[in-house]
């Protein structure tokens, strides 16, 4: 079943390429995947081996094309991927005549993400992520908006650079563990001498960090998401970016000691994400770049949980990982929803310049409702998924707080990071105010409300946000 989850999008992409009706095939594949993903996730609770497959592909080192739901984190990420994919195939405005390119590449991006999250072999975990690189490059560069070419270059070069550094880190990690198999089971059972850990940790932080748009390796993300067609932005910002976080958390036990050396650096960088990029976001004049930057900013919170995990050291911080994963899920869904909606705004008004927008709510109340909801989610309103994640992250920041000793670096970081919640509220409400409220601008005169079909993906994402927001144990029970 897991094999199907990965290969259905690929097969659909091939089918589209070979001539089957593009949109229909993509939608069918997306829905089948969603259903399969939900089934897999729910049956995982009773049968953790569900759908595992292993095909050895290389003997030296031992590499296997091996899929399994390795732990709850994989399950959550799988859910995120299938949900966002199902929404992404519905979203966006494909220019006539380019359906093949649009849908097949969208599916390939998703296949890469799903493959990475399901692989329980380090090699394919890495490899599947890269699968998404080319379709992203092609789609942004060919069918994106505004500075599409520059943005596509930027994202590609950054990600290539990040992947290379990451590759070096992973290879070092593998050679330091002195195991012959790259399966997570074997790797995680090994240990790495402290000396090597420091270097490996640095490479992993830079490598994964670039993929996650950790400050100061973040400047690719906002322009790329702003220029990308909606499905690409949704899948990339929503799902693929989580790959790096997933990897960091997954491999963390191997380099926990080494990470300690970089704790302060990481904290400074993550605050750079939250505060620095937060301010950058404040200064955006367009809806798309604003959303792009906001997604960069929010990565800081996940890093905060990771920093808490690092700082806890031997004591352990049982909150940090569930917090990070919940927030990853929540952010993925909410940012995908926001990009989908921003695309609708552009479709209705023809612009995303905040200056040219205004009063859209009276023409398109449903759109306004969902955008408001997604915006509120992204600024952490209780009852929506992001809050569940953020609150747990903040709690994890204080989980190892000893009042008798005063604040440690992580507590101080948590407090500063909390200011980011204010910043994000400022830019999000500003954007909402500028876009939907106030008197009608000339650009919205001919705008229409969302149609029922357009509502489908949005409703799906909203449902996910609400479900996890209202009852986070839905996710957390997977993360025990």
């Amino acid at each position: 079943m897991l094999l199907a989850l990965v290969f259905i999008p690929i097969a659909a992409a091939i089918a589209i390429w070979a001539g089957s009706p593009a949109r229909l095939t993509a939608i069918v594949a997306g829905i089948i995947n969603l259903v399969l993903g939900l089934i897999a996730a729910s049956s995982w609770l009773t049968n953790p081996e569900i759908g595992s497959v292993t095909y050895s592909v290389l003997s030296k080192p031992d590499i296997a094309l091996s899929f399994s739901l390795y732990d709850g984190m994989s399950v959550v990420m799988l859910l995120l991927s299938v949900i966002v994919l199902a929404a992404a195939v519905f979203s966006g405005q494909c220019p006539a005549g380019r359906e093949k390119l649009w849908y097949s590449n969208t599916l390939l991006i998703a296949a890469g993400a799903i493959g990475a999250f399901l692989s329980d072999d380090l090699f394919f975990f890495y490899a599947f992520h890269e699968l998404a690189l080319i379709p992203t490059f092609i789609l942004i560069g060919t069918l994106g908006r505004r500075n599409r070419k520059a943005a596509a270059w930027k994202i590609t070069i950054y990600l290539a650079f990040g992947s290379m550094v990451l590759l070096a880190g992973l290879l070092w990690l593998v050679s330091a563990t002195e195991v012959s198999s790259l399966s997570f089971d074997t790797l995680l059972a090994a240990s790495i001498p402290g000396e090597a850990q420091k270097g490996i940790a640095a490479l992993l932080l830079i490598g994964f960090g670039t993929l996650i748009s950790l400050f100061p390796f973040h400047s690719w993300a906002a322009p790329a998401y702003a220029s990308a067609p909606a499905p690409v932005a949704m899948l990339h910002a929503g799902v693929l970016k989580k790959f790096g976080l997933y990897g960091l958390i997954r491999l963390f036990p191997l380099v926990s000691e080494g990470m300690q050396h970089w704790l302060i650096v990481l904290i400074v960088l993550l605050l750079g994400n939250i505060i620095w990029v937060g301010f950058v976001t404040l200064n955006q004049k367009r809806l798309d770049t604003m959303l792009g930057n906001s997604s960069v900013m929010h990565m800081g919170y996940v890093f905060l949980a990771i920093a808490a995990l690092i700082a806890a050291g031997g004591e352990g911080n049982s909150l940090a990982i569930p917090a990070a994963v919940t927030l990853m899920f929540a952010h993925g869904v909410s940012i995908a929803l926001l990009f989908a909606l921003a695309d609708k705004v552009e479709k209705q008004t023809g612009t995303l310049e905040l200056q040219e927008l205004g009063g859209l709510a009276s023409k398109a109340p449903t759109l306004a409702f969902f955008f408001g909801l997604a915006g509120m989610a992204s600024i952490g309103l209780p009852g929506l998924a992001n809050f569940s994640g953020e609150i747990l992250v903040f709690l994890s920041g204080f989980a190892n707080y000893d009042p008798a000793k005063g604040f440690g670096p992580v507590q101080i970081a948590t407090i500063i990071a909390l200011w980011g919640v204010v910043i994000s509220a400022v830019y999000m409400l500003r954007a909402f105010r500028q876009t939907f409220q106030g008197p009608e601008a000339s650009s919205v005169k001919s705008a229409k409300n969302l149609s029922l079909l357009e509502l489908a993906p949005i409703g799906l994402l909203t449902l996910a946000l609400l479900a996890v927001g209202l009852y986070p144990n839905l996710i957390l029970q997977l993360l025990k």
């Binding site: 049982s318 409702f369 609150i391 920041g397 000893d402 106030g438 144990n473």
Partner: protein
Amino acid sequence: MDITWLLFLLPIASAAIGWLLLNKQHTLAAYLSTASVIATFVISVSMLLAGKDTQASFNWASVGDFHVKIGFMADQMARGMMIVVTGVGMLVHVFSLPYMKKDAAKARYFACLSLFMFSMTGIVLSDNFLMTFMFWELVGLSSYLLIGHWYQKESAADAAKKAFLTNRIGDFGFMIGILMIWGIAGSVSFAGIADWASHVGTLTPLMTATLGAATLCIFCGAIGKSAQMPLHVWLPDAMEGPTPVSALIHAATMVAAGIFMMVRFFTCFETGEAHGAPEADHAAVSLIPSFAWTTIAVIGIVTSLAAAFMATQQDDIKKILAYSTLSQLGYMVMAVGLQGSEASMFHLYTHAWFKALLFLGSGAVIYACHHEQNIWKMGGLLKKMPITAITFLIATLALAGFPMTAGFFSKEQILHVANHQGGMLFFIPTVLVAILTTFYMFRLVFVVFFGKNRSENAEHAHEVGPLMFIPLIALTVMAVIAGYEGIAGQMAPLFHHEKVNFGSIEFLSSIGAFIVGLVLAFVFYFNKDEDKLSGNVLSKVFANKFYIDEFYAKLVRVFQDAVAAVVHFFDEILIGGILVGGLSRSAAGFGALFRRLHSGNLQGYATLFGAGALLIIYLTVFVF
């Protein structure tokens, strides 16, 4: 299942149904919402009469053995507060039915009201800080939605945004406070904190300071929600919302949530009561260092005084009431800070009724005057709409602390606390605020209801319909009787008050303040067509709210927008341009250099070959 859950379920269900399913059937949505609030009121009353503490919770988020719980703790304080919330809420719903009759987005309006009822219920019944925080935010959301109900208006949209953001700043502190308390006490539930406080013994200086800091951080939340200085600026602007909303949210209930929450928090430290040892009444309270208490009290009285001054020079009927609310909230905060939680809660409770009444009354006036809000364009309305006028007058008396009205008793308590716990430093400003309160309220009454009609709208005004004046009358009743022990004592023990001592300095200054304020107002404003006091420097300062809004606007422009612009600039220049751009440029530069080596000239190649060969040989033989 406990019936208390219905208090949550009914409003949220009506909100969801009203907004999502009934957005075409406006009237149905309105009735649904009203029905739900009536039901919750009935439940609240039944709970109050049952007089039983109930408690239940479920795990909302659990990680290992750490659980974030959602549940309720219906103790006496919560039950009493529920009466206020659902009672005022119910009347406001009823009042809204005619008031919002012609509004195109009635369904949304009532859905938001229901959402508010849900959120407020959550705060009141919450048994732990995290749950409080969640509903705290949701209350902020419903307030945002309701202030921005007429979002097409620039001012309404801006006011809504301002309210939300200002509250966010407070919540920033609140969350830090919660986290710190969690770190210190090891629990976020009120019971857990109380348990910790009663067992902890003495604290190290660092712990004490941390606890004080945590207290102040939590207080930040209250500053935001209860609109204390320096985050008070949103509340007057919030009057952009429909008037019934102002009555419910921005006068009676939500703004009181800050007070309620602080009292809840401090109650945790009053272990004397919890453990039945009255003499240890303030033993655990003393865990919290005095700097925290003092800060709270000072912020309260400063807000109270400043807002009272501002109120004297406003011309918008709702703004006057808004500043009055600020001022009264300042009273309550001061009382909390002076460790007079009982007085504070008592005033909160009485204030809710008559301030809601004032707002609804003003709503009726505005409605009657075709949405005219400037008091100088009204006048003589006593004859046009007697019921409204009389109820409004009674509410004014209550607010001014006229003897035997509800406000009289609670203000007495506040004065008592100020005098006994705070000393002259607090007492004199408190009395001054009392004078000012009477002054500006009667200014309002004289200008609006007496004299002659000063505009066409006022001339054509007529009494409102029964659905509007029935709530007014109901509230009037409460404004009069709510202060008596028989009623107040029913609500909760915290409202319990000492007998009024007619010879005490508090009583005398209360009466004195009332008389002075009334006389001044009469002299300056009775039968006047314009404000004689306006125009001088001082009144300009008051009218312009001490220029605090302007100052904030500048502050935001400089510290947020300018910094954002600078950071954005550096982000592109420094990181995008120099760091990354520099890397890629140097790569390209080296690339160009390398390409130039391939000049196509054979001689050049031979030279480079030779040079390279020599270098390699040198390196190999002599270096490596």
